[in-house]
């Protein structure tokens, strides 16, 4: 770890990727992530990396496919509508087992929506916006330091599981500045080349990377192999943060920017004598079902709060299995709930329960 | 300001629409437009028509290049 720097979220992610050994970035401008693309445009040529602005997001995802085939660390970032255009390609990459890191800096949607921070792409990220049986591993930072840290490990995770990884941020994380410390530079020369890449059939049989098998029984095997990997990811990769949950009588569940705001609410509420805690999923897929289920057995209710009309709350319900009441509060379209607003909601529900 | 209207035309500039880009100023062949010293509500110094000698033909150049349709051009027929 080095000195603290005050940087923008998009740039924090970019610099962290570079330190993780990513030397290939393909992008297309879209607010509120364009600064990440711009950062890479400035930085990569200086360090012998490859930066290319593609003609579209559809081209971008396929360029990532190409780079990943030849075994290099590669990344892109985009925002909601652009991410929708990448879904076909992501489905292909997942099936072909190609690692890569995607960043979706979510904005208000659906449609062209607006450009303010939102969390309406949770379903798309976690349930598969593309076709077929696959998953992305989804990491959701709530501070810039965490954005740095998660970006740094995202490449390892992608390679470990040979699967696309998504950093799911929002316009707030993307645009704000905050002090961060960056990790050390990975020595790119020392990164091991995987043994499955396409680098020329020299002294070995040709290799084929594909997402295709005309025989359904073979395709089924491929998919079951993916599922086996996903099962392992579920075992090993679940991450979350507990915040003041030990004595909690009520529980918030929220991620990213929303969770950050809820920490204030937790403190405010406790000042008013309401013992509320927060579980903040850091991996949205795999989702920390078990931890939430444990908590469900001990709290009066769970209040999921999202900057959307309610998507993660379904995973909370799946976790809870009816063991406690699951409530929801959300503001879609780029409106950011204020701490006081959420506090009022909490108090209203607490009152109901206490009655 | 005089009442001579040799050119037989004049223009009006909508001070609120104008963004002070200066394109009209740059294009007026008789140099009849200048920036106002005042700010408009958007915070720009809008363009002002200043034709004390009534030289404006009116050629309409200013109208044609104005990106904010702030200019109306009049012909004097009376």
């Amino acid at each position: 770890m080095s000195e603290k720097l005050m940087v923008k979220g998009t740039e924090a992610i970019g610099e962290s990727a570079i330190r993780a050994g990513c030397r290939h970035y393909f992008g297309y401008p879209i607010t509120p992530q364009s600064e990440l693309t711009e950062y890479m445009a400035r930085r990569l040529p200086k360090i012998g990396g490859v930066f290319l602005q593609a003609e579209s997001e559809v081209a971008v995802v396929n360029m990532l496919y190409g780079v990943s085939c030849v075994g290099k660390r590669v990344m892109t970032s985009t925002s909601s509508p652009g991410f929708s255009l990448m879904q076909e390609g992501i489905s292909y990459m997942a099936c072909a087992e190609l690692p890569a890191v995607f960043v979706n800096v979510m904005r208000g949607g659906p449609g062209l929506g607006d450009i303010q921070p939102a969390q309406g792409d949770y379903f798309q990220a976690t349930k598969g916006g593309g076709h077929g049986d696959y998953r992305m591993i989804v990491l959701a930072p709530s501070t810039l330091q965490e954005a740095v840290d998660l970006t740094y490990i995202s490449f390892d995770i992608a390679e470990k599981y040979r699967n696309p990884v998504l950093i799911l941020a929002d316009g707030m994380i993307g645009q704000m500045m905050e002090p961060v410390e960056f990790p050390e530079f990975v020595d790119v020369e020392k990164l091991k080349e995987p043994d499955w890449i396409l680098n020329g059939a020299d002294g070995r049989d040709p290799r084929r990377i594909t997402s295709f098998d005309i025989d359904p029984h073979n395709l089924e095997k491929i998919i079951l192999h993916l599922m086996e990997k996903y099962r392992k990811a579920e075992e090993n990769e679940k991450r979350w943060e507990d915040f003041m949950v030990d004595d909690a009588e009520y529980l918030f569940v929220a991620y990213g920017t929303m969770a950050r705001i809820l920490k204030t609410v937790v403190k405010l509420a406790r000042k008013e004598g309401i013992k509320v805690g927060l579980i903040r999923p850091i991996t949205l897929w795999p989702f920390p079902y078990e931890r939430i289920e444990e908590m469900a057995e001990r709290v009066g209710f769970i209040l999921a709060v999202e900057m959307s009309t309610g998507q993660m709350v379904e995973d909370v319900r799946l976790a809870v299995k009816g063991k406690t009441e699951v409530l929801f509060y959300g503001r879609p379209g780029g409106v950011i709930p204020s701490p006081f607003e959420v506090l009022e909601v909490l108090k209203k529900y607490v009152k109901k329960v206490r009655v | 300001m005089k009442t001579t209207v040799k050119g037989r035309g004049y223009i009006e500039i909508d001070q609120q629409r104008c963004k002070g880009c200066g394109l009209c100023i740059n294009v007026c062949p008789h140099e009849l437009i200048k920036f106002s010293t005042k700010f408009n509500s958007k915070g720009y110094h809008p363009a002002e028509f200043d034709d004390p000698e009534g030289l404006c033909p009116p050629c309409g150049f200013c109208y044609r290049v104005c990106p904010d349709t702030a200019i109306t051009v009049f012909r004097i027929v009376g």
Partner: protein
């Protein structure tokens, strides 16, 4: 302690830079701090602004509905933000550009002829640093030394001295 300020003005007035210097100063003092810009097409020909939150504790929300302070550098910014300053908060306004009064009676207004002061040092471009000096003197959210250090870090070399000079003028402003 948590204090929030919105800095707003035209694109060229250096409001983003003001906010960043302030944030960096706070960081040097070991405080928690966030800086959040307005972004997107609203900037097209309009005003730019940023929000800085400085806190002893982790900053929950970099978005602030009701800032304690606003620093406004032009009329549209005053009109837009005077409505949301907290009761008892502060409006710092650059009266070189703003020839209007605020409607708010429940806040303290600090009027600074920042362009004029800046021009005295050399350029109206550093009116932003004058405002920063005034702001720091009034609110004491950070120490002047931290601001100078931040300026040394963020400015292009040739502007460091001038910027520090401008902040100093601002710091002195209230005394005069």
């Amino acid at each position: 302690m948590e204090r929030s300020v919105i800095v707003a003005g035209f694109g060229g007035q250096g409001v983003m830079f003001l906010g960043q210097v302030l944030s960096l100063a706070a960081m040097f003092e070991g405080k928690h701090v966030t800086w959040l810009p307005s972004y997107g097409p609203e900037m097209r020909g309009g005003t730019a602004n940023c929000t800085v939150v400085i806190s002893d504790d982790e900053v929950a929300s970099p978005v602030v509905d009701k800032p304690m302070d606003i620093i406004v550098m032009n009329i549209p910014s005053l009109l837009k933000f005077e409505k949301i300053v907290k009761e008892g908060g502060y409006i710092f306004m650059n009266t070189s550009v703003i020839d209007k009064e605020t409607q708010r009676k429940d806040v303290e207004v600090v009027k600074v002829e920042a362009n004029k002061i800046a021009e005295e040092i050399g350029s109206s471009k550093i009116a932003n640093m004058v405002m920063l000096g005034v702001y720091v003197a009034k609110t004491k959210v950070v120490k002047p030394e931290s601001v100078f250090e931040a300026i040394r870090k963020k400015s292009k070399k040739e502007f460091i001295d001038m910027n520090i000079e401008a902040v100093k003028k601002g710091l002195e402003f209230l005394r005069s």
